[in-house]
């Protein structure tokens, strides 16, 4: 376009040039108007999230604390014990790191890989003699673990600056001493199960929302405006209430001596209080309740746009009511179903507070583990790797949805 413009410039009358200039000005204004939000998003959203996620693939601790060792191990073939230079480099690095107080960073990182590495590092650093003949003999003399290939392989695996340790761990995988990817020991494998559970819970909640929300949206869309407005308020009121308040309310309702149990006990339907909280049931109930408006609203907006004449026409042509629904009404609501399901499912994937408050230990979703690593053990690499996984799963899901249904057909409320 620009090229075409320059070629034609000589022939363009002044008016056209003026028009073009004013258009350009408009463009600049538009960009200037959007720019603050763009900068804001970049600084407060995309930047920090990117920085956090990058921790899932960065492995900076060991190379910065043990620079000589990682350099010496770079050429090590991994079949035998590393050469004397590597031992000597480790001794030098350890002395320096100990006096600088940085040993913990490397020790903590290595301990994620091999249990006991932390104490191995600290006890070795403490017991290093001032004068050393053979670094190799000295280290192995302090702890025979320095004579094991696996110990050195762990250091090499952590030599960064980027590495797949956290990502593999997030998939219950690890690398063995030869660098092959193998499954994590069974008693340490957790994440695949939890990810599968996250998808299961989200799927069930989405299905429940659809089954409960579809008829409500239908009623809302067909009622006269006055009563529909009133009903709509019932849908929107919980929507506007804080998530935490609604979850806490479910605790009050479902707990052992809560409203439901007192009522059922009072009228004599049950002898023992039902266990309705700290289990999967409570998670489904609370999450479905919280996410229901996200299903109803898109459905409602789509249903509102379906002309009643279609249904009357089908009926007048002799279709029984169910056929009218199945052949005429349902297909037209598909974009609403798609939008509602996508909204509910993706939100459900990231749920944290609700399962944490009303679920049991077996009902925690992936966000719980992300929070556990981010705020409890401060293992940000692990937290970031799990976040990458969750983000990737969500994106894949969106792509699949886009393929199957097409985003053009999605009309969110």
């Amino acid at each position: 376009m620009i090229q075409a413009a320059t070629v034609e410039t000589t022939e363009i009358p002044a008016l056209k040039r003026l028009l073009r200039r004013s258009q350009r000005r408009q463009q600049v204004t538009a960009i200037a108007l959007v720019a603050p939000l763009l900068v804001f998003l970049l600084l407060t959203y995309i930047g920090p999230i990117g920085a956090l996620l990058s921790r899932g693939i960065l492995d900076p601790e060991v190379p910065s604390v043990l620079p000589r060792t990682t350099a010496a191990l770079a050429t090590w073939d991994g079949r035998e014990l590393p050469p004397e230079v590597a031992f000597a480099a480790l001794v030098a690095d350890m002395r320096e790191a100990r006096s600088a107080g940085t040993l913990a960073a490397a020790a903590t990182r290595l301990n994620y890989d091999i249990n006991g590495f932390r104490s191995l590092m600290f006890s070795t650093a403490r017991r290093l003699p001032a004068e050393i003949d053979s670094a190799r003999d000295t280290l192995i003399g302090i702890d025979p673990k320095w004579g094991e290939r696996e110990t050195w392989a762990a250091i090499r695996r952590a030599s960064g600056p980027v590495g797949d340790f956290y990502l593999l761990a997030a998939l219950d995988l690890r690398r063995d001493a030869d660098g092959n990817i193998v499954a994590a020991p069974e008693d340490q494998a957790i994440f695949i199960d939890v990810i599968a559970r996250t998808f299961l819970i989200s799927g069930v909640v989405t299905a429940l929302c659809l089954v409960l929300g579809y008829p409500v949206a239908y009623v809302l869309a067909t009622l006269p405006a006055r009563s529909a407005g009133l009903l709509m308020i019932f849908v929107l009121l919980p929507f506007w209430t804080s998530l935490l308040v609604r979850t806490a309310a479910w605790v009050v309702v479902l707990q052992r001596e809560g409203i439901v149990n007192s009522l059922l006990l009072g009228i004599g339907i049950i002898e023992q209080p039902l266990e309705m909280i700290f289990n999967r049931f409570a998670v489904y109930v609370a999450m479905t309740h919280i996410l229901l408006p996200f299903m109803i609203l898109p459905l409602y907006s789509v249903m509102k746009g379906i002309p009643a004449v279609h249904l009357r026409a089908a009926a007048s042509l002799g279709a029984p009511p169910f056929t009218v629904f199945r052949r005429v009404y349902l297909p037209q609501t598909l974009p609403g179903i798609g939008a509602g399901c996508l909204l509910v499912f993706i939100q459900a994937l990231g749920y944290y507070i609700t399962p944490a408050l009303v679920g049991g230990a077996e009902d925690q979703m992936i966000s719980y583990l992300i929070a556990f690593y981010a705020s409890r053990t401060i293992n940000w690499g692990m937290a970031a790797a799990l976040s990458i996984l969750l983000l990737a799963a969500t994106l894949v899901l969106c792509a699949v949805y886009g393929r199957l249904v097409g985003f053009g057909r999605v009309r969110p409320g």
Binding site: N111, S119, Q188, I190, E275, A361, R376, N379
Partner: protein, 350 residues
Amino acid sequence: MNGRKTILAGIAAGALVTVAVAGPAAARDLTVVSWGGAYQDAQREVYFKPFVEATKIKLLEESWDGGVGVLRAKIQGGNNNWDVVQVESEELVLGCEEGLYEKIDWEKVGGKDKLMDDAVHECGVGTIVYNFILSYDADRIKDGPKSWADFWNVQKWPGKRALRKGPKTNLEIALMADGVPPAEVYKTLATEAGIERAFRKLDELKPHLIWWEKGSQPPQLLAAGEVAMTSAYNGRIAAANQNDKKNFRIVWQNSLYTVDYWVIMKGTPNKAQAEQFIHFASLPENQAKLPAKIPYGVTAKAATAMIDPKILPELPTAPENIATALYINEPFWVENLDRLNQRFNAWVAR
């Protein structure tokens, strides 16, 4: 306040802000961090308020839920705003090794010989002795449990059980419930078979277990009737009995005990005030006031004699209570926490 005074106050406040911004080392108030809830309420009456009155040093209090990573992030992030933190022995050992704390100058905080041996550490000053005990509500259970083995007996005492989330204390409890005597617990846990045994024992109870994370939760769970029994900090249970007129019972048989320490965060600008505070909080006459508010044992040797003999039997340091108790072995947990955390999380999620 009339108009002129308001304006003057405004100018004064503005000047103060300017000064605070201008001086790089302009000290924030001494910030003391403890564990919140009934315990910190008691500390406020016994230590914080009297300290401020006595020294005119401004004191800001915060609370936290533990985890050495939190302290590590504060020091490494370079914007640490905590001065004195009460830590569990695990955080004491790890953080001291990593250089997160100032070394204790024992001259300045009152001297080693004034405290019991377990309270003395190069990086920390022990302040309370407290126990993980078995607790139940005597208003709901008449003939109550007597031991951790009874904790596992869901036939005789139906209902949910609550334990602290995480492997620490629970593996020990599981082994003692399985018949391992306290003296053998850590020897057993040192072997893979011992850890396996502990998890298998926990497996038996798993359908009945829920988990608490904050010390304030066990009394709430008992009060709501949500669980029949729970592990708990002895002090929280006693506080619930005292303040909320509950009838919770403590089973001292094979309880686990540990010490909490004050540490001074590395590089704090308030080091002198921090030492002054720890000194104040280690004086026997001050410590002796704490058990009346919340029955934790205190660490000053001379304090025991000043404590009301009526409440002494409720304290972890009472001879009959400590007789069957197990001292939580910190080196074991420092060595194994990463692995056992992961294994515990995997187990609990299954």
